[in-house]
Subunit: 369 residues, 2 copies
């Protein structure tokens, strides 16, 4: 049974049904370990909606644990990380630790025989990447990444469905804008290059992952990258701007820009946008806010093809099938949600982009005028 989604001018999409829980209650148990980034809430909700059972939580900061327990009253705080790792009933550990700590935790999780689901960026150095690849291969466990700007976005789900049906022909190019609001209260690690890996490694990871996915490429190379601190001299290591061009092995081209300049007047944290150019049309996703709409709207998908201009709101229409697929992959030892090779390929591209930007800093990271 499908629900047609209809654009204002009458274009109807016969969408597949929204995803539903893929397992029975209690069949797949997970814990949260490492709550430094708020993404852990989205990761947890996605797993819960797909049918997983949240049993335990751990972080070295009791305040973060207390906040998490208020949001998810069913969860039990663990006394230490080993209590989670030693629990044979746990299938997966989800983490949004500080980026530089994510890989070390993941290695312990995999060595304990559990799958790992980690916030982006999944790691911050090539040494970590090599260790993660080796451990994943040896243990057979998964090191999956919460690339939320695609995996937890109904706009992206809808765009993905359109692209898969040939709605814009061959995807030859992608642009991504990833503006973020800095806000007032950020922890110290947020401003440390060593702890975040830099802006291209951190929030750039969403973009390069989408580039590989939407262009259908297994590999790509970074063709240019820049980072800057335009307006935050009080935090000299902080990068408030970054951008990058990449060319996929199949010939598709990409560009993205990430920044921390969302103005106070925007009704959400960032006007995140993804543009797909195809040989037969184009798509734009306005994921978190559509400033062309008077009402507060997320998940706008604009699509132009040979027939006309179409506008859809994907909210509540298509869901986020990633989470159910991830759970099934863990149970069935399949790779329907995301291949391990893709997760690591995206991570590697981010490290390469950051390295190129760092090397060209003299030219591309201008100071204040």
């Amino acid at each position: 049974m499908t629900t047609p989604l209809v654009s204002p001018e009458g274009r109807a999409l016969d969408l597949p049904p929204r995803p539903t829980p893929v397992i029975r209650p209690g069949e797949f148990r997970f814990a949260a370990a490492g709550l430094a980034h708020g993404h852990i809430y989205g990761m947890t909700r996605g797993l819960l909606e797909a049918g997983a059972t949240l049993t335990a939580v751990w972080d070295e900061d009791p305040a973060l644990v207390a906040g998490f327990c208020r949001a998810f009253p069913q969860v039990r705080p663990a006394r230490c990380l080993d209590e989670l790792l030693d629990d044979p009933a746990l299938a997966l550990v989800a983490s949004a630790a500080v980026p530089a700590d994510r890989c070390g935790l993941g290695l312990r999780v995999m060595e304990a025989g559990k799958d790992y689901f980690v916030d982006k960026a999944p790691l911050t150095s090539l040494d970590q990447l090599a260790a993660a690849r080796t451990a994943a291969a040896r243990t057979g466990r998964k090191y999956m990444v919460y690339y939320s700007e695609r995996l937890h976005s109904e706009a992206a789900t809808l765009a993905d469905w359109l692209v898969g049906r040939g709605a814009i022909g061959r995807v030859i190019h992608m642009e991504g804008f990833g503006p973020h609001r800095l806000g007032a209260a950020r922890p110290g690690w947020f401003y440390s290059k060593a702890r975040t890996g830099g802006i291209l490694c951190d929030i750039g990871s969403h973009q390069l992952e989408q580039f590989l996915h939407f262009t259908g490429a297994e590999r790509a190379c970074i063709t240019s990258a820049r980072r800057a601190n335009y307006a935050h001299p009080d935090h000299p290591e902080f990068e408030d701007f970054g951008d990058c061009t990449a060319t996929a092995a199949n010939g598709a081209t990409g560009y993205f820009r990430v920044d921390w300049f969302t103005p106070a007047g925007l009704r959400n944290w960032g006007d995140g946008r993804t543009f797909l150019l195809g040989t037969e049309g184009y798509i734009e996703m306005r994921k978190y806010i559509d400033i062309t709409a008077p009402e507060m709207v997320e998940n706008t998908v604009l699509w132009v093809d040979g027939e006309g201009e179409h506008r859809f709101n994907a909210t509540g229409q298509v869901g986020c099938p990633f989470f159910g697929r991830l759970i099934r992959d863990c149970l069935d030892r399949t790779e329907t949600a995301m291949t391990q090779a893709h997760a690591f390929a995206a991570a590697e591209l981010c490290l390469q982009a950051q390295a190129i930007a760092d090397r060209s800093a003299a030219q591309a990271a201008p100071g204040r005028p």
Copy 2:
């Protein structure tokens, strides 16, 4: 007297009055020579609206001349180019000849003691650029360029006014999307690399000119560039895609993408867009069509700052002051419309971008999969 332009949520802009003719009838006479590109119509209309008098036209193709005379019945067809160049009453010659021929014509115009107003791209090689610079310096005549995507766009006029009033703080970054419709009937020269200079030289010129202008930079360097023929194997020299990153001398960063993939369903020839990121907000121009509006709308300006999200339609509100300023500059020997240095700097950047893209073709101009 100013007319307030008000956004839907109530933000009012006290705009300056629309430009009016800057001279008396007959005070400034011009001719059109070289009609290969339809831009000559826009160039002519802009000059006429600012008060100039169109007297004569010449092209080697009588069909193009006949079409021009139908649009502008006051114009007299010249028997040859020299008839225009020898006419002491003519102050300026406007041309949209084939790009590769534009400089040669301009040199003759300047040597004849007249100012030259040429369609973008104003020239197609570094040798031509050197000759034009030398001739402009020696003759004291102007070699001005119709960078229409800024100069003949009320969205750009409004954005310019906003930026000048500090509406988004310091402009640190710009993106430009320049999609174009290929259509069916294109003359042979259109597909010749030697005649157009390539996609970055040709339609990329709009973008790099805007980058210099909106970031307030006199100089910039190209940091990466790519061109491709993704889907037109029947025209092997044709480039249907190009993109480029540039860094301005003042530290601002830029990216643009140009292409020939406007789908048939779009209600105009291209969804041209310019994005300005500032330290205190951002602006988007949707110059030729706003696909988020049900009605056919050009010149949408979206602006987000510390106060909120604002949407304006600039059509009929602000005009295009460039043309009147150009006429006054010719009469007064000033540089209020555009400096000669800027016109040439933008042209030089385009040639550099094209050269970089051509050199990296093995990597960045992928074939079909």
